[in-house]
Amino acid sequence: MTGVGGTGYALIALGPAFSLFVTVIASKPFLILTVLGSAMMWLVSLIACAILWRAFLPGAVWTFLPLLITVVGIQEAVRLYYWCLYLKVEHFLNKLAAKVSKPQLVATDKIQIAIASGLGHGIAHSVFFCLSLLTPAFGPATYYIDSCVHMPLFLVAAFMGLGFLLLHTFSMVIAFNALAGDKHFHQLFVPVMHLCASLLTMVNLLPGGCIAGVPMTLICAVVTMAVAGKIVWDKTSTGSAELGNLQRVHSSSSL
């Protein structure tokens, strides 16, 4: 629906990502590189999934179920691989910090790297699943699909893109924290939530299902955000207490 509509849809899907990028990530070049790197890794995993399932699509509707399960499995495996890579990078950064007499990575740095990684995944998801559909939205008309006559396809895709962007971003924060601290509940939470969110999108296949599907995706995203927020809150409140102690020690030692 012309430029205004198309831009609106794009902003719905990517607006929060853009503001996260500008506030947290843009000032630190390393984080920008992390976003690009994790987006590329997500793309590679998507291509692997596509190669696997290309022969079966377009197929019957029931093929979506095994497809989603295998694809989410592959993506969670890639997340674990990404975590191993991150450990190497963290080691490298700490070594570098030691060489140039800068402080080692603190908790907030690690959370920022986790946010950047998650944002890379999320932006790649939104761009491929939502933005690439939006090209016709800049034209003069709009488009509805059969199973969803209530909202244009572009609007639904934008909301789903938003939901999954937030889900990917914050589940990476949870995953990094859980894998570092070996917390099993959170380690299981991430793949389970990802799988639930994807399977819930299958509700959209039913006629009129998008009315339920879109809010459920957004609820999953909000739950993930809440869990990630709680983790970060806990970490920074204990962290700041430690920092306060350190500062007191320093000031007393400098006297």
Binding site: L57, F64, A97, Q104
Partner: protein, 466 residues
């Protein structure tokens, strides 16, 4: 609060990734608005001397024709680069300089003018011919001066280089599809041979430049070095006790203009045989800038100074030697990767130096002086304009299919560029910037177009996502 390590690492890479991204974005926008399905009129260019692709030729014919076109193009590029090396060797700097200026003016005024006219027609902008002519001539003149490095803000110089790259890349996207893809692959292969093989023209150019301690003549984009915040700007070279590195910079940039490319005779005959009018000299030699941070010649990775530039840091950590805080590289081996000539006309396939160059600085103790005087050049990266152009051609051609291929190719190219930069830090010699990115880009394009696109569109139109 002390700045953490995250703020320091990676600045140079971002400094080169940003202009590459901007150039690609501009080319995609131009292609998307003006020629979304490929150019309807075929432009006879040098790249199509042998075979003019028609839409209804068979697969085999198109492939063979594209291959012939690409081989001819690469041969001409190679010839021109040898001429460039010869001119540089015999120190014909003046004629190279004049040629460079002429090239820059032609690209900006003529190709820029044609693109501007197409845009005016598309958007129905009300503008009269006199205003347009005045604006265009002014724009092109300032661009020529920028490329010759009169003292002007570095943002303007960088902007003009990106615009020159964008215009030439847009022109290249007018080639037919098969020719474009085969040409990209051929240029990537040529890049490897020219830079890494002992007899390759660019290898010889690099060695000549090292031996004479001069700059390589070409159009090179240089990212602004990351200066510490409190430093206002570099004082003029003459008035400051320049540390060794900056003095070396100014000497290197002594006005030598290696003009890449054909030289006068080439351009004259080119003009005579002009069948089309494209093309441009994409290699302009940049007059050595007076300020240390200005310089646009190929891609030169300048190692960082006090700040831990990422590439320097990679090399030091990998090499495992003890790096002091002011450690920077001892040697000044330029790592030029590639002088590409692209010009679709006979006119000027001037070697646009594309490649990565790694220049160390050995200041050691003068580090702190640098920072104090504001001369610390930390981590400026240089990338040849030919790289900009070929990356943008790939992405522009991907844009003619669909935006999904654009995103995939963009990520592939940036990934390739990052990998090349890391290899640069590890190997510390001249490296071609094209091969890894172009290979990844082409692979991702075909994978996306044939496999990913139907997959994702099928899922997304059913609103099933993961």
């Amino acid at each position: 609060m002390e700045k953490g390590i995250l703020e320091m690492v990676g600045g140079e890479i971002i400094g080169i990734v940003s202009p590459v991204s901007i150039c690609m974005l501009l080319v995609v926008l131009l292609v998307h608005t003006l020629t979304p399905h490929g150019s309807s009129t075929s432009v006879a260019t040098i790249a199509m001397m042998i075979y003019n692709e028609q839409p209804n030729d068979s697969f085999v014919e198109k492939f063979k024709g594209g291959l012939l076109n690409a081989i001819v193009f690469v041969c001409i590029v190679m010839l021109v680069t040898f001429v460039l090396v010869g001119l540089f060797y015999f120190r014909f700097t003046k004629c190279l300089r004049v040629y460079m200026g002429f090239s820059a003016f032609t690209v900006l005024a003529w190709m820029g003018g044609i693109v501007a006219v197409e845009l005016i027609q598309f958007f129905s902008i009300p503008i009269d011919i006199i205003t347009f002519a005045i604006c265009l001539v002014n724009f092109a003149s300032v661009g020529v001066m920028a490329v010759f490095f009169c003292r002007m803000p570095i943002v303007l110089i960088q902007g003009y280089l990106v615009v020159i790259g964008m215009l030439v890349a847009f022109w290249f996207t007018k080639l037919p599809e098969w020719t474009t893809w085969i040409l990209l692959v051929a240029m990537a292969i040529y890049d490897i041979v020219a830079v890494l093989a002992p007899g390759g023209p660019l290898n010889m150019l690099v060695e000549l430049a090292i031996a004479r301690d001069e700059d390589i003549p070409a159009l090179i984009y240089e990212a602004r070095p990351v200066l510490p915040r409190q430093i206002s700007g570099p004082p003029p070279m003459s008035s400051s006790p320049t540390p060794a590195r900056t003095r070396r910079w100014s000497n290197r940039r002594a006005p030598r203009n290696p003009g890449v490319g054909r030289g006068n005779s080439g351009s004259n005959s080119a003009l005579d045989n002009l069948r089309t009018s494209n093309g441009q000299p994409t290699s302009l030699i940049t007059e050595p800038p007076l300020a240390p941070e200005v310089g646009i010649i190929g891609s030169r990775l300048v190692s960082s100074t006090g700040d831990a530039g990422m590439l320097n840091s990679i090399s030091t950590v990998v090499a495992g030697h003890q790096a002091t805080e002011s450690n920077v590289d001892e040697d000044t081996v330029p790592l030029v990767s590639h002088g590409t000539n692209n010009s679709s006309t006979a006119a000027a396939l001037d070697g646009m130096e594309s490649g990565m160059r790694f220049q160390g600085s050995d200041q050691g103790g003068s580090e702190s002086e640098d920072e104090g005087l504001g001369l610390g050049v930390s981590g400026a990266v240089k990338l040849g304009l030919g790289d900009f152009i070929f990356y943008s051609v790939l992405v522009g051609r991907a844009a003619m299919y669909d935006l999904m291929t654009v995103y995939a190719c963009y990520l592939a190219i940036i990934g390739g560029l990052g990998a090349t930069l890391i290899l640069l830090a590890v190997w510390r010699r001249a490296l071609p910037a094209l091969p890894i990115s172009i290979t990844l880009g082409v692979v991702f394009y075909f994978l996306t177009r044939l496999i990913l696109d139907p997959f994702v569109v099928d899922l997304a139109t059913h609103l099933v996502v993961f």
